[in-house]
Amino acid sequence: MQIQLSWIDPNTEERREPLLETPVAIGRVFEEMPQQINGQRVSRVAIADDLIADYHALIDWQNQELTITEQNTSSDIKINGLQVTGGILKNGDRITIGTCEIAIEFTATAWECDRMIGFLFKRRCGRTDRIGCPDCNQTYEDDYAFYSDYGNYRSGWGRDYYDERDRYSYDRETGNVDFTEADSVSLEDERDADFESNMGAS
């Protein structure tokens, strides 16, 4: 399950908004935080701030609730301004670690994205978190823009083949592709006939 954290980096003063897979470890030293907990990969967030412990806190799901726990007796954690050693986090809560105030966003409802994705193989997106989806939508559109008319055979490349698509038959056994000439001749006759009758009518 993904959660979104956002804070202002105390050193560079730029806003950071990573979208992270839980569990999430927060601390000052990257290497001091665990890579894995109970076989689950940990997303590690390192913030260079003297008031933050090497491995300060861990955010994870427990009994369907997002929790935060301190990892060091000297670590200070505040949830919405209140001093705690740990607790349950709700969507929109703000935690304070060191001098950093970190806003947390997530959605716990069972919801699935029904957008069709895939360039080669169309299928339902099916993502279960709302936060992840806008991201996939946006870059998806951008990538399509690189190839104008992508997927359109009516006017672009391959138009002739597409127009006559019904006349091709592919034999899965032999791998041969046949083009039914007889049909094409009869269709041509039809067109000529239409043209002649139109001429006659006018």
Partner: protein, 299 residues
């Protein structure tokens, strides 16, 4: 799959065979480590500059005090303290520079992991969640001994050319429709060198290095049952190809089972993550465009 940091730092190569999700997490971690290294590097660089300015200031002050005609014990003491200060500051300066160099070694080239992150994300749309991707990502410099091949200059006698070919990206996997892809990016550079006789008759040693560009290769092995009609499109496949302005098609081969595509990117965009990503995406979309039409005709 978890990153072995020590190994990554030592070999400058990241290799993995993992699901998209784990691969993305690893790449995110590499990006984070790189960001931290950049931060540390600039911090130590700033401090080194401050110490340098302090040394310069102290030095000027020492000279000024020395040329003053008045001689008092206080003045003499001040000069001794200043000299001592310069000594200490120099040690600190050396330390900060040392730290800066240490972190600069951890500071890897950004464009390579940035491109890889975006390409994996793009390909993920057509890959099964449990499907594994094989990735080889090198952060080494192209101009290094191991990628070098020396040849004799074709026109200038006594001259040689060092050719560098570094395949820094290799990405392999399977799409949901059972098509298999193999993508590589190879950076090219060459150095020509030799002796040149000037108008005065004296011989001079000359050397010239040119970045040649980036070669991107893509192979798509497609299942015949689904896309068998590709062969009737064979002669027109190249017309379906669209590429950015500074990239051009060098080769395109279509066989019963696979399509091979080779694109050269100009040297001025060979390390531009946006341009590389666009080229790679357009290569995939071009071949997808062919496959999708083949599927319609293969019914």
């Amino acid at each position: 799959m978890l990153i072995d940091l020590q190994k990554l730092r030592k070999n400058q190569i990241y290799t993995a065979k993992a699901t998209v999700k784990n691969l993305m997490a690893d790449l995110q971690e590499i990006a984070e480590l790189d960001r931290l290294a950049e931060l540390q590097q600039s911090k130590h660089g700033k401090r080194a500059l401050q110490y340098f300015l302090a040394i310069l200031g102290s030095f000027v002050l020492t000279v000024v005090l020395s040329v003053l005609k008045v001689e008092t014990t206080v003045l003499g003491l001040a000069i001794i303290l200043l000299v001592l200060g310069i000594f200490v500051l120099t040690i600190l300066l050396i330390y900060e520079l040392f730290k800066k160099i240490q972190f600069s070694k951890l500071n890897i080239v950004n464009y390579r992991y940035e491109v890889t992150q975006r390409v994996v994300q793009m390909l993920a749309r057509d890959i099964d969640e449990s499907g594994e991707i094989e990735l080889n990502l090198s952060f080494k410099s192209t101009v290094s001994q191991e990628y070098k091949q020396t040849i004799i200059h074709p026109r200038k006698p006594q001259w040689k050319i060092d050719k560098y070919q570094h395949e820094w990206l290799k990405l392999e996997g399977q799409f949901l429709d059972k098509s298999h892809f193999l993508l590589t990016a190879t950076e090219l550079s060459k150095t020509q060198y030799g002796w040149k006789r000037g108008s005065s008759g004296k011989s001079k040693y000359k050397s010239k290095t040119n970045a040649v560009g980036l070669d991107v290769f893509l192979t798509l092995n497609y299942p015949q049952r689904r896309y068998g009609a590709v062969k009737i499109l064979q002669n027109e496949v190249s017309n379906a190809v669209k590429l950015p302005n500074l990239s051009y098609l060098r080769g395109l081969k279509v066989t019963e089972k696979a399509m091979h595509m080779s694109v050269r990117m100009a040297p001025q965009v060979a390390d531009n993550s946006g341009e590389i990503y666009q080229t790679i995406t357009m290569m995939f979309l071009s071949l997808y465009q062919v496959l999708n039409l083949a599927k319609i005709l293969s019914k």
